[in-house]
Symmetry: C2
Subunit: 79 residues, 2 copies
C-alpha cells in the first residue's frame, strides 16, 4: 500500500472568494503579514502498489478536480 | 516572502462522507486498488518573513480549521 496525496487548487486566473475572504479578515483579526491566501482541496488516498502514476493522474483529473478551473498535483508520500 | 502551505484534514475518528463517496465510486468507474480516500482542505499563503511559526499555527488553528473535528499541518515550502 502507498499513500498518495492529491492537492487541487483553483487555477491562478480563477478568483478564489474563500481564500480572499480569509486574506481580508486576517488583518482585522490582528494578524498582519499575510498578503495572499488561496484555498483548495487536499485528498489522501490509500492505494495498492499496483496502481501506476498514469492511473492516479486519471483519477485526479476526472474525479478529484475540475480541470476547467483547477490544477492538481499528485505525489506519493509513503510506500 | 515565504510560501506557507496548511493542510487541514478531518480527524481520523470523524466520518468523511465526501471522501467515502469518492472511494466507493472509483471501482464502479473502473478504477480498482484505491482502498480509502479522505478529503480535506489545502491552503497556500504568501507570508512575510517576519511571521513566525507560532503565529502561523494560530492562524491555522483559529481561521483555517475547526480544531474540534480537524487536524492541520503547517509547512513552509519556499522562502
Amino acid at each position: 500500500m502507498a499513500r498518495v496525496v492529491v492537492d487541487v487548487m483553483p487555477k491562478p486566473e480563477i478568483l478564489d472568494p474563500q481564500g480572499q475572504a480569509v486574506a481580508r479578515a486576517l488583518p482585522r483579526l490582528g494578524f498582519d503579514g499575510v498578503s495572499d491566501v488561496r484555498q483548495g482541496k487536499h485528498f489522501e488516498l490509500e492505494v495498492d502498489d499496483s496502481v501506476d502514476d498514469e492511473t492516479l493522474a486519471k483519477i485526479a483529473e476526472g474525479f478529484l478536480s475540475n480541470p476547467v478551473v483547477e490544477d492538481f498535483v499528485v505525489r506519493r508520500v509513503q510506500s
